[in-house]
């Protein structure tokens, strides 16, 4: 799991981490996408549950680029404008595998903890 930037660390570390993970997975599943496409995919998958400022996607994208997990090529968007099409790199794939297993471990643990809580309170 990646660590969020110090700036907003307290506020949304988990969210940011998960957002990074979601973007990586999206790029892995759908191939090269521009920011708008990624935002749509997340919207679609989350079935409107996850409310998010779509702008934050770009912060995530920049962070992932800096880590070398994604790259981009220039392409043309649906409205005929020059746009960055992001794609996952080899290192990104490796990272995705790590993060996925991390996430499963943690969500499993948290799930168990929460069940434990509810058993005690009942």
């Amino acid at each position: 799991m990646s660590k969020g930037e110090a700036m907003t660390a307290e506020k949304s570390e988990v969210l940011q981490g998960t957002l990074d993970l979601m973007i990586l997975k999206t790029l892995h599943a759908l191939g090269p996408q521009h920011g708008f496409g990624i935002a749509r995919r997340i919207e679609q998958i989350s079935e409107q549950v996850l409310k998010l400022n779509e702008g934050t996607v770009y912060t995530s994208l920049l962070r992932l680029q800096q880590r070398g997990w994604i790259g981009f090529d220039w392409g043309v968007s649906e409205n005929n404008r020059k746009a960055k099409f992001y794609s996952i790199t080899k290192r990104g794939l490796k990272q995705l595998a790590i993060e996925t297993s991390n996430w499963e471990t943690i969500s499993g643990v948290i799930g168990r903890v929460l069940r434990l809580e509810s058993e005690e309170s009942s």
Binding site: E5, M7, T8, H34, G35, F36, A39, N53, E54, G55, T56, Y58, T59, L62, R63, Q65, Q66, R67, G68, W69, S77, E78, N79, R81, K82, A83, K84, R91
Partner: protein, 917 residues
Amino acid sequence: MTSLILRFISRLRGLFGQAKANYEFASEVETHIELLTERLIRQGMSQKDAARAARRQFGNTALLEQRQRETRAFLWMTTVFQDVRYGLRMLARSPGITAIAIASLALGIGANTAIFTLAKAALFDALSVPHPDQLRLLAYTQDDRSAIRHDWGDFYTDKQGRTVVASFSYPAYQRLRDRDHSLGDLFAFVDVNQFEHLSATIDGHAATVTAELVSGNFFQAMNVGTVIGRPIEPEDDAVPGSGAVAVISDAFWQQRFARSPSVIGKTVDVNLIPITIVGVAPRDFSGASHVHTPQDLFLPLSMQPLIFPVKTGSLLSDADTWWLQIMGRLQPGISDEHARASLAVSLDQAVRSTITVPNDRSVPPLLLLHGARGWNYAAQELEHPMPLLLSLAGLVLLLACANVANLLLARSSFRNREISVRLALGASNGRVVRQMLTESLCLSALGGSAGLLLGYLGRNILPHLLSSSWGPATLTTRFDWRVFAFTFVISVLTGLGFGAGPAWQAARTSLNAGLKDGGTTMSRHRGGVAGKMLVVLQVSLCMLLLVCAGLFVRTLANLNALDPGFNKRGLLLFAIEPPVQRYPAPKNIEVLHRVEERLASLPEVESVTLSREALLAQSGSNSDFLPEGRPRVAGGNKHVAYNSVGQNFFITMGIPILYGRPFGLRDTATSPGVAVINRALAQKEFAGTNPIGASFQMKEGGEPIEIVGVCADAKYAWLRADDSPTFYVLYTQQKDASGSMTFEVRTKGNPRDFAGAIRGVVESVDKDLPLIDVRTQEEQIDATLAPERSFATVASAFGVLALVLASIGVYGVMAVGVSRRVNEIAVRMALGARADQVLRMVLGEAMALALAGVGTGLCAALLLTHLLNSLLFGLKPTDLLTLVTAGLLLSVVAILASWGPARRASRIQPVRALRHE
């Protein structure tokens, strides 16, 4: 790890490609929002609603861009650049305040830099040789039970009150060098100037030179070569009397030979002995004795018997006279204590094998001193004024800080609005604080740079104040990295110091208060109080400095006004030291007498005399005083001061003879010994009886000397000392005395104009006799007052500086106060207050501030000035005149400084204020 590096590189790139990246990101966002809008329109929204919804869904673009920028490059770097640029812009916007702030800081920091440069020279500068920190100087503590009876040369008293001596005999040195290698190859040196003045005749012209005698391995062990020629080598030092060679210093090469390479092989006469110059030492090399005053010549120790012969013969074979300094380099892997212990054993052996140690005496314990600063006697003297000078400079810096803090506070209260806007736009508190601190640091960096320049320009003022007007400076200051580091550190500290207040205030700015127009807010009120407190602090610091300045100035004035008991005006002084080689005693008396007679025959000369010791030159001779026909008291009557003088001494110096007679023509070299004693000695030794006709001896079994007269008391060695019991004898009757004598010439007109004529007279007697230390008696006295004069000058300069800074502070806080209170004052005037009442009100407030400051300063002064007690003369540290004058001066300056704002207040039109509201 790799990802870390990648991130680093991409951020570094981001730092430079900011503009392009910003543009790309903006267009990416634009595209996104367009696509989103189109999608919403397709879902059935109107164009307008869709655009708005799209923006809402996307989020705050400005904030995002900012984040993006921060993520892209090093956050702090970009924002620091931004802050600095913005800070400089803000500073440029109020050029008046900025200029005053920078000037205050420059003066404060410059003063500290100049003083630190001197303190560094006195306390830290090392010999310029490779690895000076390895050098160790051998020394020991001397007491009554020491086996070493006759140590010769400089010594000092350490903090435990022990007498520390670093003099060794040549035989002891030889044994130590042969036996002990815990300090590598031990080398020896001795500064000849502490024993006598050497004269050198170069191209037919005689002058005094300074010289260090060094052992043959000296240059090798010091790891110092020569610029041209060769250093002194072990072969030069092999046989006493051989090795008539010299290495000259770079400064001497420059002065006397204009850096001519043909100097190698040239022969100069040193004390009439021809010496061949074989090399020139590197530029900063000053020998091993002193860090700052380079020797002119380095000669092999083997030349001692010829260059400066002593009565006992060659010092090289003399085991009883301890006169030589020994150094070595601490070898790697050997601890100080190990080397010391090993050398202590060797010293014990060396002492016992060269001299007999009586049962009741012991070999003194060996000390290993750090040798990096040479046998630094002169600098140890200079250490004493340093803490005081540094504290004074520190006070000035504190004052400058308070001043700048005050200016910034005044400004920042006007900047409340700006800060509130920044906070409202999403700047964090920390960001605002950092911005304020960055501005302060910009200011202190500018002030520090200017201060460094001032310090550089002023670096020689203090050494100049501290050295005599005729001789070379005792201290040359080097402007090196330590000075830069010091200035940098104090600049940063002052920046943080004066920036803390405004930054704290900025951080506490409440968002609402600042945005409300006009109206008094809590933070403004607090700012006013802080400003006033700072002014009180400024005034009290200023008071403290003024009191110090007053005390020192009055001390100097008291000392200058002090009657030394002789007429110090119109006297020219110079010394002559007839070389023993040409004038062995008593032939030296003849040549001195010849010079005396020829000088007396000059028409411009009123009278001329000479004396062993120049008056008020901080040195004196002592002797036993054993009156005849009295029982000897063991240990009694020791150390009576005496001076051996010329026949016309009392007339020339203007010391009245109270009864009896002065020396006369009938007192010659062959007539019975005579003396004149001063009143103090007459009172001490002959209370109630007539001393005229009584006799005494100067040592047990010596010739009887008859007292022929009693003269008035006169100062002898020190101006501050009480009139000590003293007797005067005739130099012509001192048959075995040698060494230099000082001539005192009373001239018609300015004595300074007369130096040329005197040189001619002396050269007509012997062209190889150089004049030593030509100066007037008044210059001589001034030189002894160097510490007092430097304190008085520095403290006065700082006092004036403090006064200027404090008046700026008072003016600033009053001006800000008045402009804040325009409404209030206008209302008062509308209600019938007259202009003069308003004027008085404002002046009264200024006065209250000033008095509060004066009061605090006075308390501080009363607490602190007793520390200066030992430095003062003729007044107490609580000198009423000084305290009152300082207080009055400050009050007057405070009123003058607040006059402008008060006038402005008294001219406020009530109508204007109502309109303002």
